[in-house]
């Protein structure tokens, strides 16, 4: 049986928000997809959650136009680009390595805290890379999406998500607050 040469298309696109919140007691950060633009602090069991960031974003699935295979990406919180904050971070090492080959590295970030221990699988991230490469002129450059588990120390990470921040604010955007 011949394997399908998948041609991925974006489908099931939903525009909403990705919320990052931190517990002021235990300092745990968690993130989730929300249809609401909420900024209120709240208590939940022993946690006291405060919103760190509420960014507009979208989620989607990919579907192969040849064979109909459907891959859900509801576990993708966003794509993060490395700002070279830590020289010995594995993401920075990979970024430098691939940049020499005109390949731009992004981190495919799952939701926290689950994705710290269970990042998006290599197979799914390869599909995501394939999709964005199919959308571009790869003779100029390519995209490689790597898992967030390669971030050496997430609490020190100053990478930035490609999210829409502050779009609903009446104030001019300032420096972003570190998420982690």
């Amino acid at each position: 049986m011949v394997e399908c040469e998948h041609q991925w298309e974006m489908t099931n696109t939903q525009f909403a928000f990705v919320v990052f919140e931190k517990c002021s007691h235990c300092q745990v950060v968690r993130s989730y997809f929300s249809k609401q633009d909420t900024w209120d602090d709240y208590m939940e069991d022993e946690h006291h959650w405060s919103i760190v960031e509420n960014a507009q974003t979208f989620r989607f699935d990919l579907k192969c136009s040849n064979c109909g295979e459907h891959v859900a990406f509801d576990d993708l919180a966003g794509l993060l680009y490395c700002t070279s904050c830590l020289e010995d971070c594995e993401v920075e090492i990979q970024r430098k390595k691939y940049e020499a080959e005109k390949t731009w590295v992004l981190v495919g970030f799952g939701f926290l805290p689950e994705s710290k221990s269970t990042p998006l699988s290599g197979a799914k991230l390869q599909i995501l890379s394939d999709y964005f490469n199919q959308r571009r002129d790869t003779s100029r450059s390519t995209i490689k999406i790597i898992p967030n588990s390669l971030i050496t120390n997430i609490s020190l990470c100053r990478g930035e998500f490609i999210h829409d921040v502050g779009m609903l604010s009446l104030e001019a955007p300032g420096e972003r607050t570190p998420l982690f």
């Binding site: 974006m10 979208f58 794509l79 995209i143 490609i162 779009m167």
Partner: protein, 111 residues
Amino acid sequence: MTTQELIDLLGLKALSTFEHREVHGVFISDMLSDVMAGAKSGNIWITVQTHKNIVPAANLVDVSAIIITHGKNVPLETIELANKHDIAILSTDSETFDLVGRLYSLGLATK
């Protein structure tokens, strides 16, 4: 049409250093998520957003150039990131509406 021809015809100011390339169609949005979802390779992206995050979004979907309208000031860190990724950032004092009219008259449309 190429980015060089576009600059010459519309009197755009090139803010970053980049290799000129073919232009195919136009995409207008101030939201990165819109661009990531809908822009096509070779599109010109017209926006008033100047935050450095426009560069990785443009790079991800392979737009041919970002045109910043209304003469908005573009931070140096945005330009430096664009230089690194070979992304064209062009600037005009025109309003978005006027620029789009001129692009349309040149035969460029949403693709």
